[in-house]
């Protein structure tokens, strides 16, 4: 060894190291290789790549992988992609896509500043999650929208704005019903609703009638009048709250009698983009009225 000069030694050591690791990696690349289905990449290309996670997977790649490899994963889970993407994915994976009804996020609360009472003045962080930690927020009603705009900030499509009356307005053009706002809302007051729904219950209060009414003048008081009036049994009561089956309502009902019977006007016609009790409602109905002429 000592006869070799240092430069040659360096060459030998480094070359053999390189060759050793090169072969080791090449060998293990073969040995540990995993076959990747080329279809996964094709499916991934079809998806919108917003990486919103509305499908329930960690991004578009993960969903593409799951939908190709797992026969139980439905092809129509991509909500922002709507029907077009679902159709393509179904074609590529050979699965049947169930017909999809477009949905839109809606806030189940009409408790604007003037209608919902407050139990204290909140001056903390402008965030619903933070406000909710302080006795469930400043509103007397512990189920309603806090109006601090956590959902507005979370919307990846800029589809929400906060109205001056303290309720978020959802732009029906921009809402892809990805469900981000539904999951960030600490009150679970936002839900997804079929765009074609006819009526909606603008209240989330599970309090008994008297308590709910005291906290907010437009609360659903759980009187079940609407349930008894509905000829198609589309309305059920649960936790002092009317629950409308949008499907029955949409298919069978032509004259919504429930609307006129509600003593607190908690049930209202469902028009996308309108928030009841706000200026936005007034301006939109004016616009509708002028259109009708």
């Amino acid at each position: 060894m000592s006869t070799l000069s240092t430069p040659i030694l360096i060459l030998i050591v480094l070359t053999s190291l390189g060759v050793f690791f090169g072969f080791l990696l090449a060998y293990s690349n073969k040995k540990f290789s995993i076959e990747v289905n080329p279809l996964i990449h094709i499916v991934e290309d079809v998806l919108p790549k917003g990486q919103c996670g509305a499908c329930g997977f960690a991004g578009c790649m993960a969903y593409a992988e799951a939908v190709v490899l797992n026969p139980d994963v439905a092809p129509d889970l991509c909500i922002p992609g709507k029907e077009a993407v679902a159709k393509l994915v179904a074609e590529l994976t050979g699965k049947a896509a169930a017909p999809m009804e477009p949905q839109i996020a809606q806030v189940q609360c009409a408790g604007t500043h003037d209608k919902a009472k407050r139990s204290y003045a909140y001056t903390g962080v402008e965030d619903c999650v933070a406000a909710n930690l302080l006795f469930g927020g400043p509103k007397s009603c512990k189920f309603g929208c806090l109006g601090l705009g956590t959902c507005v900030k979370s919307c990846p499509f800029d589809a929400m704005i906060m109205s001056p009356e303290g309720l978020p307005i959802i732009d029906p053009e921009k809402c892809t019903s990805c469900g981000k706002c539904v999951s960030v809302c600490p009150k679970q007051v936002i839900s997804l609703m079929p765009v074609g729904a006819r009526v909606r219950v603008n209240c989330n209060s599970k309090d008994k009638g008297a308590v709910a009414k005291k906290a907010c003048s437009v609360a659903c008081i759980g009187c079940s009048l609407c349930m008894r009036q509905c000829p198609y049994e589309a309305i059920k009561m649960g936790n002092n709250l009317a629950i409308v089956d949008a499907k029955i309502c949409e298919e069978k009902c032509s004259d919504a009698v429930c609307l006129s019977k509600c003593p607190t006007k908690a049930i209202r016609p469902f028009v996308t983009g309108i928030v009841p009790g706000t200026e936005n409602e007034a301006s939109m109905s004016l616009a509708c009225a002028s259109c009708a002429k």
Binding site: T6, L9, V13, F21, L24, L25, F32, I34, V125
Partner: protein, 193 residues
Amino acid sequence: MEEYLKLFVASAITNNFVLTQFLGLCIFFGVSKNLNASIGMGMAVTSVMTLSSLLAWAAYNFILEPLGLQPLMLITFVVLIASLVQLLEMIIKKHAPALYNMWGIYLVLIATNCIVIAVPITNVELHSNFLTSLVLALGSGVGFALALILMASLREKLQYADVPKSLQGLGISFILAGMLALSFFGFSGMITL
């Protein structure tokens, strides 16, 4: 035994690579936005660091030193670590897909990080034997994970803070890291190696 314990605590806390020696700051700021990611990253770095410093120890003591090629230490270690990370990635991808999904790209990111090469070099400087290099690498990894998790927890809290506009994002994070390092400075001198 006491010696090893001392070494472990020293490398994890008093001589914490991130907070007292300022190595591995790229990952420290890049991955500390979210607690779950930081836990995965901390684990990945710890395991890669331990394995690579053992391999580097063997390469140094059995190849470089007998041949008198100590100046080649840096380049050899780089080759070693890069290959090891690649190999590890392949093996994990094949045999533990769940772990691979959790670590994701972090594993490959580690290959070029200074903290991973700092540990084998420290080992050489300290003339460590096999066991002490193992303890040092493990301690440094745990120290790194600790710093990363602390930072991630702080930054998650920070999202609810009312930060001045000019400091939002990385600005306030640097200040936070400085304060964290300052608090770790309180440990200095507790153990001398």
